[in-house]
Amino acid sequence: MFMSGLKKRLLFISFFVLLYLFRLYSVQSADRKNIPDQAEVRIVARVTQQPYLKGSNQIINVNGFLIKTERFPTYFYGQKLVIVGKVKKRVINPFQIEFTLNYPAIQVVEKKQTLISKIDLKAWLFGVKSSLEQTIERALPEPQSSLLIGILLGSKRQMPEKFLQSLRNTGTIHVIVASGYNITVIAGFLISGLVLFVNRRWALILAFLGIVAYTIMAGAEPPIVRAAVMGSLTYLAQLLGREKDAIVCLFFAATVMLLISPLILFDIGFQLSFLATAGILFIYPLLNGKIFKFPLLGDELRVTLSAQIAALPILLFNFGQVSFISPLINALVLPIVPLIMSLGAAVVGAGLLAKPLVQVLGWFVWLPLTYFVKLIEWFGQLPWVSFSIGELSWVWVAGYYLLLSLWILKKPRFSSSA
């Protein structure tokens, strides 16, 4: 009955890998769309994600098809549409094939979803989200308002193209991707603030409620829910002083998610959430320079840096752009992100409860946002700030993670725990 710990673990892991591959295969064979390029199709389906704007176009996701259409009329999540047009096929990787329809004929069949209560809840969540977005849009000028919407709600519905490019150039685009990072920031911020008023247990409970509220605010879209689950589980375990439990929790949560929907392995949001959380668990304890002793900002920087180190190759791999001074820019803007988030939350809160306060609070969040914007715009327009790396080979990514794991394992803290 006795097996060595290592053997047991390997057996355990291979079991899950096999199970995963089986799930991946079954999902793939069930869901594969066998549509040739340039085929005429007629799609009758519901809008599966809230449409967003790109330049003067509107992008709608219907059953895995990307529909590019005019800005108006505006389509909404849950609407049933009949779409007739030509399909353009693009293979991203064997598991991910993108089908696009450019300016097809669209007809709305049903205005609203009333049949299934679960989907109604989702429509309601989107309603909440878009009313929060409107509050921000009415209170702040561009690009400050879309930056706040991005940081707070993780959506880039209306971001000016130029500013989006500056974010890419400076390697700060991740602040507007809803990921585990936002969740960790919220949790950390709430807890460190709340322990001043209530005891630790209550602080944890309230922080947890805060994460739930954030998830709802951000439309409870799958990537955010996943991030919330991973983030809060691990954060709670870590704060309760059980570091190893936290690691187990993270892997457990990720495994369950992958078994439920295997395709999210290829989802950038999933990868970022997982890596950012893992980074905070593994790397955070190893960072102990003098700079992190700086009150308030120091710890913030430490959290940020550990998440960044873990997620960097994924960002580079997917966004194809490297900035030499990205770490510097990040160090300059990220410490104010929690401030922006809390003031921004106050703005949208006031939008729901006390309208006249919105404008005054808006001025206060305008200031740190403007600092962020000006800095990004200034760095973003420098031609030498970033260079496009084209396709980053996966070999580099693998090599990076190999070195990173070696570094983590070599540090005395973890060598004994293996």
Partner: protein
């Protein structure tokens, strides 16, 4: 505390001056013209997408969420689409727009946002003057009020019946020629804003009583069917601004550029020069970029 101090400095830094600013926003193929004087803003058209929002943000103090007057010269996508976002985000005091219908998704969305804003809507005609402080907008076109102002009332809202709106105001045959043409006057400084008019309307405009024009907004993004020789000769502008972006009609056309050259006007184009800003104190004026 730091935030408060920062805010006070930012406020001082953004206090508007007492001059007129006439800004041709860089919105690609379309028009969006912002006129500001002290804390008043007038926006004429909104361009084809939300790029106008960045222009507003750059030229309005951060605390000002009110635009005193929004003018839509004529209801075509490259002039009205951006206005929809503007109306949703800012408080609009007054609209000036023809009661002309363009049966397109964008127009109906625009109409709904205007109705939701609950501001007053005025359809102008020639010889009227809209005054905002020391700024004057003299209406040169359309000669007579266009359409039925019922278009801008809620009468058809309950049933959302587009047909009933179309009933009171069927779309005109050429929407461009319904463009509202305005002469902006501030002290001795005058500019002519022409929407998308063509030769036809240019000839009918009453230019006899017009003072010297310093700045001309070149009609219809420099289309060759606008900016006739005679029209340009009568106006003789010092500066001609073409609001234009990437397009498939060849705007601005060689013909128009040559005609402008022959009247000796300095030409600035938003596609090459970016945003064009003209500043005047009522006597002297200058423009950026130089």
């Amino acid at each position: 505390m730091i935030l408060l101090a920062g805010l006070i400095w930012a406020t001082i830094f953004q206090l508007p001056d007492s001059r007129l600013h006439l800004i041709f926003c860089d919105v690609g193929q379309g028009d969006a013209i912002l006129v500001t004087h002290r804390s008043n803003q007038i926006l004429i058209d909104g361009g084809p997408d939300n790029r106008v929002l960045s222009c507003l943000a750059n030229h309005m103090p951060f605390w000002d969420r009110e635009i005193e007057l929004v003018i839509l010269t004529h209801p075509e996508a490259d002039h009205l689409t951006g206005l929809i976002d503007v109306i949703k985000r800012y408080d609009i005091t007054q609209f000036v727009v023809n009661s002309v219908v363009n049966d397109s998704a964008g127009f109906w969305e625009f109409r709904e946002t205007v109705l939701a804003e609950a501001a007053s809507v005025h359809s102008p005609q020639a010889k009227e003057e809209i005054k905002i402080g020391p700024l004057g907008f003299k209406v040169l076109w359309p000669r007579h009020r266009r359409g039925d102002s019922l278009v801008w009332s809620h009468f058809a809202k309950a049933s959302r019946d587009r047909q009933s709106v179309l009933g009171v105001a069927s779309p005109p045959s050429d929407i461009n020629e319904t463009s509202i043409v305005l002469q902006l006057a501030f002290g001795k400084f005058n500019a002519l804003l022409t929407g998308d008019i063509g030769f036809d309307t240019e000839e009918k405009l009453d230019l006899a009583n017009l003072p010297g024009i310093e700045v001309l907004k070149v009609p219809h993004h420099g289309s060759k069917y606008s900016s006739g020789e005679e029209f340009l000769a009568k106006l003789n502008p010092e500066l001609a601004v073409i609001s234009v972006g990437k397009n498939r009609w060849g705007h601005p056309t060689e013909e128009v550029l040559n005609r402008l050259l022959s009247v000796g006007a300095k030409v600035l184009r938003t596609d090459q020069d970016g945003e064009v800003e003209i500043v005047s104190d009522g006597k002297n004026w200058y423009y950026k970029p130089k």
